[in-house]
């Protein structure tokens, strides 16, 4: 019964990963990373059901806390960049190369 959930989680993860690679706005890229983390949560909860212990569900809580901390740090960095450059596009940040 858990297969569908795993497929959904795999799809969400793939959509998130594709989004990180092809979207240009740093905020959207970051949202896609969050989508990937949520796909992980779904996989954890599904597997917890499948193997019959609570570890996976507990891990999901930890992941939520870490994701929240990551949002704080990430938005701070992106907002600073936006204030400096008036743009949140990851293509505009191109001073460091080669």
């Amino acid at each position: 019964m858990t297969t569908q959930y795993l497929i959904l989680s795999g799809l969400l993860f793939a959509i998130g990963a594709m989004g990180v690679l092809i979207r240009r706005n740093a905020i959207v890229v970051f949202m896609c990373v969050e989508l990937m983390l949520n796909a992980c949560n779904l996989a954890f909860v599904t597997f917890a059901r499948q193997v019959g212990n609570l570890e996976g569900q507990i891990i999901a809580f930890f992941v939520m806390v870490v994701a929240a901390a990551e949002v704080v740090v990430g938005l701070a960095i992106i907002v600073t960049i936006f204030r400096t450059r008036r743009s949140a596009s990851v293509d505009d940040a191109n001073l460091l190369k080669y």
């Binding site: 990373v33 996989a43 930890f62 960095i77 960049i81 400096t84 940040a93 460091l96």
Partner: protein, 528 residues
């Protein structure tokens, strides 16, 4: 699922070094909240240095007491074994030294929130001060670096990874000069770091689905009785590998390293280049040797390719660099490749594995100190606009300041692995371990290991070319008329360079004490 919840037992004594560093970080945050601005720095500096020194003392006490625990601490979350203690000690000393560099004036922006070039920024500059939040952030990062390689289950490892990374993302963006570069480095590091930790997490979910647990010995047990070609297991292993290899900067996940090393404030680069690499290699070893040890026939071929690519990319791309920090970043990538050779050198016998492990630990000490020393030199060669980043500006430095240039040349020779420097013994130990591992297996795989070592020697030779090029530039080129000035180094910076020099020369001449220490730490291998 019914019944009372048992209270967990926490071995506070064993975890004391970790708790001390995290405790000091929390106190640092309180200082930030309640102490008046003019007092903050004078509270933070002793607090940070004392907690790191205290942590090191606690590690020493445990190491000297002899009887290491044979079971993990904190309900199986943290393994305080020989390798953990060794890595903790190395990280604490390296971060202590880096804090001395951080302590110097002029590396960090006065107000990170002020837009570069604005009136706000000027006002903050004239008001002086600067961000004292740097100190608690560094302590949190160091705490994460200690938790990451000592984690005994993947969840603790993930938390350690994030506690280590999140403060570093912020610290990267706080450079005082060339702030656009610094902010860009911070954003790139953050987005790529978050991306890679999502891979780590999905890999962890797959492994959990396969083994029903995320504890490393539990995974090992599931492997010894279960199907070894389960897709869940293979996908999980690959994704975990992506997350960990990203952190050590192995190719093809190395793209962030030059950008971040170049953009970040140099003391923070020194901390990342030494501490993060040490921690990440420790974690990589724990996952692949303890958790996935039974699967080494599956991961060694992949690791072979990654190690070969990493060494070649690191040493070949370094040749074309014109920025000194970027060049050192590529050199750090090449060294990650050399370390991966050691990670691959597994044996069937525990004694053989202990030999490889001690070679890796030795290499980490050697590389960590040399790299901190090199970045410390970079901080004091200055242009009017900050550090003299362009390599051409280093021309003729040997005539202007022979002592400093000589020191830097020595660090570069140690990176190259020239005999009589510590780097030589580091490489020698790792390559010998790899050859021994190849000889044990024999036939074709043994041949591949020999091939990898040959590739490592070739990569070292290529790397030696660009190290020597910098030395030639410093000693045999004419200095520009408006060449860089040598800032009068603070006592802290002098201490850092001296310590790094002492370790590089001392270990180069008498490697035995450090080798013995590494052997002793590795003798018990990881707790299972």
């Amino acid at each position: 699922m019914n019944g009372a919840i048992e209270a967990p037992t926490i071995e506070y004594g064993l975890l004391a070094p970790l708790l001390l560093v995290f405790g000091a970080a929390v106190i640092g945050v309180l200082v930030e909240a309640f102490a008046p601005r003019y007092l903050r720095k004078s509270i933070h500096v002793p607090l940070t240095l004392l907690s790191l020194a205290g942590g090191f003392a606690l590690v020493l006490v445990q190491a000297l007491r002899g009887s290491l625990p044979t079971t993990p601490a904190a309900m199986g979350a943290v393994a305080v074994d020989g390798p953990s203690l060794f890595i903790w000690g190395v990280i604490l000393v390296l971060s202590f030294v880096c804090v001395l560099l951080i302590n110097d004036e002029g590396h960090f922006v006065a107000s990170a929130a002020a837009v570069p070039g604005s009136a706000d920024e000027e006002e903050a500059e004239t008001a002086g001060g600067g961000h004292t939040e740097v100190y608690p952030l560094v302590l949190f990062a160091v705490g994460g670096m200690m938790l990451f390689p000592a984690a005994h289950d993947l969840l603790t490892m993930f938390v350690g990874l994030e506690v280590m990374s999140l403060p570093l993302y912020l610290l990267c963006g706080l450079a005082r000069r060339r702030r656009l570069l610094s902010q860009e480095a911070s954003m790139k590091y953050f987005l790529l770091g978050a991306f890679s930790s999502a891979f780590f997490l999905y890999g962890m979910a797959m492994i959990y689905g396969y083994a029903g647990t995320v504890s490393l010995p539990g995974i090992n047990q599931a492997l010894s009785s279960g199907v070894l070609l389960d897709p869940l297991l293979l996908i999980g292993m690959a994704l975990l590998g992506v997350g960990l290899l990203f952190k050590i900067g192995a190719a093809p996940f190395q793209a962030w390293k030059p950008d971040v090393y170049q953009g970040a404030p140099t003391p923070i680069t020194a901390l990342m280049a030494s501490g993060t690499l040490v921690a990440a290699v420790g974690a990589l070893l724990r996952v692949f040797w303890v958790g996935l040890g039974n699967l080494d026939w599956d991961w060694r071929p992949v690791m072979w390719g990654v190690a070969a690519l990493t060494m070649l990319v690191g040493s070949i791309l370094a040749i074309t660099q014109t920025d000194i920090k970027r060049m050192l970043a590529y050199s750090s990538i090449a060294h990650a490749g050399f370390l991966l050779i050691g990670v691959m050198a597994t044996f069937d016998s525990p004694a053989g594995n202990a030999g490889s492990l001690s070679a890796i630990l030795f290499y980490l000490v050697v590389y960590g100190f040399t790299t901190v020393g090199a970045f410390a030199v970079v901080t004091i060669v200055r242009d009017p606009g900050g550090e003299a980043w362009h390599l051409s500006r280093w021309a003729g430095l040997g005539k202007r300041s022979p002592l400093l240039a000589g020191t830097f040349a020595f660090f570069l020779l140690a990176f190259a692995g020239i005999p009589l420097t510590s780097g030589f013994f580091g490489k020698y130990a790792v390559f010998t371990a790899a050859l021994g591992s190849g000889a044990e297996v024999g036939d074709s795989l043994g041949g591949w290991m020999v091939g990898l070592v040959v590739l490592g020697v070739v990569a070292s030779a290529v790397a030696a070319f660009f190290y020597v090029r910098v030395i030639v530039l410093m000693f045999f080129s004419d200095a520009a008329a408006d060449g860089p000035s040598i800032a009068v180094p603070s006592t802290g910076t002098v201490a850092v360079i001296s310590v790094a020099m002492l370790v590089t020369v001392g270990v180069g001449l008498f490697p035995q004490p450090v080798l013995d220490l590494a052997n002793q730490a590795a003798s018990g291998l990881f707790i299972r």
